[in-house]
Amino acid sequence: MDTRDTAEQAELRRAARQLARELAAPAVGDLDDPDRSARLTAAVADAGWLELRDDVGDGLPLGSGVEAAIVADALAGAVADAAFTGPVLAGDLARRAGVPDTVRAVAFDPALASVAVVADGTTTVDLVVADAQPGTTEAFVLVPADGGHRLGTVGVPGADADATDLTRRVRIVPAGSAVTPVADSGSLTADDLAGWTALGLALTTADLVGLVRGVLDVTVAYAGDRHQYGVAIGSFQAVQHLLAEARCLLDGSRSVGQYAAWAVDALPPAEAVEAGRMAKAYAARAARTVCETAVQVHGGIGNTWECIVHVYLRRALLSTQWFGDDGSQLRHLAVTRLGVDDGLS
C-alpha cells in the first residue's frame, strides 16, 4: 500500500493546477470574458485531458480514475469554466461500448442522477446535459437492447440553460426528442455501467474536493486581510474555529476521494461504486459546509454577486446533484449494506 502520487501523477497535478490558475477567472467579472474562457477551453483540449478515458486501442483508457480525478480537482480549485467531467464521462462510456466518442456529452435523467435510458426511440421527459462543451450538438443516451443497453444519441439544443453553476454549461434536451442508435455500439453490461457510475462518482467528488480547497484558500486569505475592531478577523477564535473545521473537512474529503478515484479501475465495479458513494456523501456534505462557512466569513460582501465565493457554492451544488446528492448516496448505501428495501434499484 502506497497512496502517494506517482511522479507522473504529481507532475499532472502540478501542471493542471498551474493551467487552471493562469486561465481561470480570477474574479466574478472575468467569467464574462469570452476570450479568456476560450483560451482556457482550448488549453484543456490541447493538454489531451478530455481524452483521458478514451480507448487507446486495446479497450483500456489512457489514464486511470486517479489521473482524471487529479485534473477535475485542479480545475475545480480555481472554478475553471472549461468542460472536463462531461466530455470525459462521454469518452469513458463510448470506450465501454466499443465505439469512438463523436459527441463528447451524455444526457442524464431529469434528476441528473443517472444516464438517461430511452426506450421506443423518443424521449418522454426533459433530459439534462451537464458540463457541455460550447459546440455540443449531440449527447449519448442508453437504449435497452438484448437484456443490456446500447448507445444512442439525441440532439442537443445550442442554447445554454440558465443554470446555477456559472462555470459549466447545462443544456436541456426537450421531451419528444428522437433517439438515433449508434451504429456498431456494443452491449453495455451492468458491470460496464457500474464502472462508469463509479467514475462519475469519483469525478464529481474530486470536483468537490478541489473547490473546497479553492474556496478555503480564498477565505483564509480574506480573514487575514479584513480588519474589524482594529485587527484581522482571522485573529478571532470564533472565525478561526470555523476555518479550522473547514480545513479538516478538506483533508477528510481528499482521503476518501482519492480512494474512490483509485477504486474506479482497481476494484470490482460494485466495490468501486460503494467507495464512490461514500466519498460522494462525505465530500458533498463537506463542500456544502465549507462553502457556507466561506460565505459567512466574508460577511456582507460574501452575500454579493461580486464576491467569488458564491461561484464555488454554485459549482458545489451542481457537483453534489450530479450522480446523486449525499442523501441519495446514503439511501443507496442503506440498500446495499443494510438490506433496506425502499424501491431503489
Binding site: 500500500m1 502506497d2 497512496t3 502517494r4 502520487d5 506517482t6 501523477q9 486517479v66 483564509v220 480573514a223 487575514g224 485587527v231 484581522a232 482571522g234 485573529s235 477564535q237 472565525v239 478561526q240 474555529h241 476555518l243 479550522a244 473545521e245 480545513r247 479538516c248 483533508d251 477528510g252 481528499r254 482521503s255 476518501v256 482519492q258 480512494y259 478515484a261 483509485w262 477504486a263 482497481a266 467507495a275 461514500m278 456523501a281 462525505y282 442523501g327 446514503l330 439511501r331 448505501l333 442503506a334 449494506r337 443494510l338 438490506g339 433496506v340 428495501d341 425502499d342
Partner: protein, 376 residues
C-alpha cells in the same frame, strides 16, 4: 497511488488473519466494559508474542521495524475478526524514544512494548488541563532521588500500572514551560494513593486520580534532561492525537459493523433516519481508514508529525461521535431503559473523544494558527 497490498503486506495480512481465527479473545469493547481492562494485559501479551505488535518500532526494543502502513493492516484485520484493538501506547513509546537516553530506552522500551510492564501517564492535574504547563506537582532533589508531591487526574489504567510517566515541576524559578521534567516513577511504593474515577458511562477501571505524597524516584530515571519535560509532553500529545498511532480505527470499525448486523437482521424495524445514521457512521469510518492510509503513506517520504495531528484528531473525534450517535439512534428505547445498554455506553463514551488528548477547541486553535497561518 495504490491501496493494494504489496506481496510482503499480503503475506503479513494472511498470517495475521489465520492467527486471529484461533486467538481472538472475544473481549467486549474497551470503551464500554470493565472486563476489557481486566484482560487487556493478556491480549497485549498474546498479540506481541505472536509477532503482531510493535510493528514499526526498532528490533532492538522488541519491535519489527516494518513500515507504519502495516499498522493499517493490523487495524483492519482486528476489526474484521471482531477482535479487540491493539494496545494504545504508541505515544508513550514515541515520547521515551525521542527524549530518553540510550540507558533509559534499553531499560524501559522492551517491557513497555512486550507488555510485561504496564504504564500510565501522569500529565493532567485538577488545575492544569488544557493549560498543561500550569501543573503544580513538584519533584524535589534529595540525594540520588527526587521526592514527589502533587495530584494527577485522568490517569488511565493507573491502578494496574507498574510505571508512571510523570511530568513534574523541578524548577519553580523559571517560566512555566521551562521548569518541567519527566520521570519514570514506580507505582508500587508508599506515598502513592489511587482514587478511581467512574466515567459517565459507568466504566470504573479506565480513569483514575493519583495522589503523590512523598513518593520517590531515582534521579537516573529522569527521561530527558532537566527542563525537557514540556518538549517530551508535546511529543507525546502530538502522537496521542493520531488515529494511526492509537489504533482506534478498528474499534470504530467493529462497532459500526455490529450496528450494521443488527439493522440488517430486520431493516424494516428501523426508520429511514436510523438507517441513515448507520450508513453515515460507516462512511465516516471508511473515511478515517483511508485517511490513516494516506497519512502513513506520507511517512514513507519522511514527513513527520507536525500540527497535522490536530486535523487527524478532529477527524477521529467526528468519526467516533458519529458512531456514538448511530449507536444511540439504533438503540432507541433501550438506551433509556437499560443503563447497561452497550449502545448507550458507546454513545456516552464517545463524548470524551473531543476532550481527551487535547480538546477540540485546542486542536482548532492549533490548526488555525499553525496550519492556516491565521494570526494568533
Amino acid at each position: 497511488m495504490d491501496f493494494h497490498d504489496s506481496p510482503a503486506e499480503a503475506e503479513f495480512r494472511a498470517s495475521l488473519r489465520a492467527w486471529l481465527v484461533d486467538n481472538n479473545p472475544g473481549l467486549p469493547a474497551s470503551s464500554t466494559d470493565d472486563e476489557y481492562w481486566e484482560r487487556a494485559a493478556e491480549w497485549h501479551t498474546a498479540l506481541y508474542g505472536a509477532g503482531f505488535f510493535g510493528l514499526s518500532w526498532p528490533k532492538r526494543y522488541g519491535g519489527h521495524e516494518l513500515p507504519t502502513v502495516f499498522d493499517v493492516i493490523l487495524d483492519d484485520e482486528l476489526a474484521d475478526a471482531g477482535a479487540p484493538p491493539r494496545p494504545s501506547l504508541g505515544y508513550l513509546v514515541q515520547g521515551i524514544s525521542v527524549h530518553g537516553s540510550e540507558a533509559i530506552k534499553d531499560r524501559f522500551l522492551p517491557g513497555l512494548i512486550d507488555g510485561s510492564e504496564r504504564w500510565c501517564q501522569g500529565f493532567s492535574e485538577p488545575d492544569a488541563g488544557s493549560d498543561l504547563a500550569a501543573l503544580r506537582t513538584t519533584a524535589v532533589r534529595d540525594g540520588d532521588e527526587f521526592v514527589i508531591h502533587g495530584h494527577k487526574i485522568w490517569t488511565s489504567y493507573s491502578d494496574v500500572a507498574e510505571w508512571c510517566l510523570l511530568l513534574a515541576r523541578t524548577d519553580p524559578d523559571v517560566p512555566k514551560h521551562k521548569g518541567l521534567s519527566a520521570f519514570a516513577v514506580r507505582m508500587d511504593q508508599p506515598g502513592i494513593e489511587q482514587r478511581p474515577l467512574k466515567m459517565i458511562n459507568g466504566i470504573t477501571t479506565e480513569f483514575g486520580q493519583v495522589l503523590f505524597d512523598g513518593a520517590r524516584v531515582a534521579a537516573d530515571d529522569m527521561i530527558g534532561e532537566p527542563g525537557e519535560g514540556w518538549r517530551l509532553a508535546m511529543t507525546i500529545v502530538s502522537h496521542e492525537r493520531e488515529p494511526g498511532e492509537l489504533g482506534y480505527v478498528s474499534r470504530y470499525n467493529k462497532t459500526v459493523t455490529d450496528l450494521e448486523k443488527r439493522v440488517r437482521a430486520n431493516p424494516a424495524a428501523y426508520r429511514p433516519d436510523q438507517h441513515e445514521a448507520v450508513v453515515w457512521a460507516r462512511t465516516q469510518v471508511e473515511m478515517l481508514r483511508k485517511h490513516v492510509s494516506r497519512r502513513l503513506s506520507e511517512r514513507l517520504d519522511g514527513i513527520d508529525h507536525g500540527p497535522d495531528g490536530s486535523i487527524d484528531k478532529l477527524l477521529m473525534t467526528w468519526v467516533e461521535q458519529s458512531v456514538g450517535a448511530a449507536a444511540l439512534a439504533v438503540s432507541g428505547a433501550a438506551a433509556v431503559t437499560d443503563t447497561e445498554d452497550v449502545a448507550l455506553k458507546t454513545y456516552l463514551y464517545s463524548r470524551a473523544q473531543s476532550v481527551m488528548g487535547g480538546t477540540s477547541q485546542v486542536q482548532k486553535n492549533i490548526i488555525a494558527t499553525r496550519i492556516l497561518g491565521l494570526p494568533a
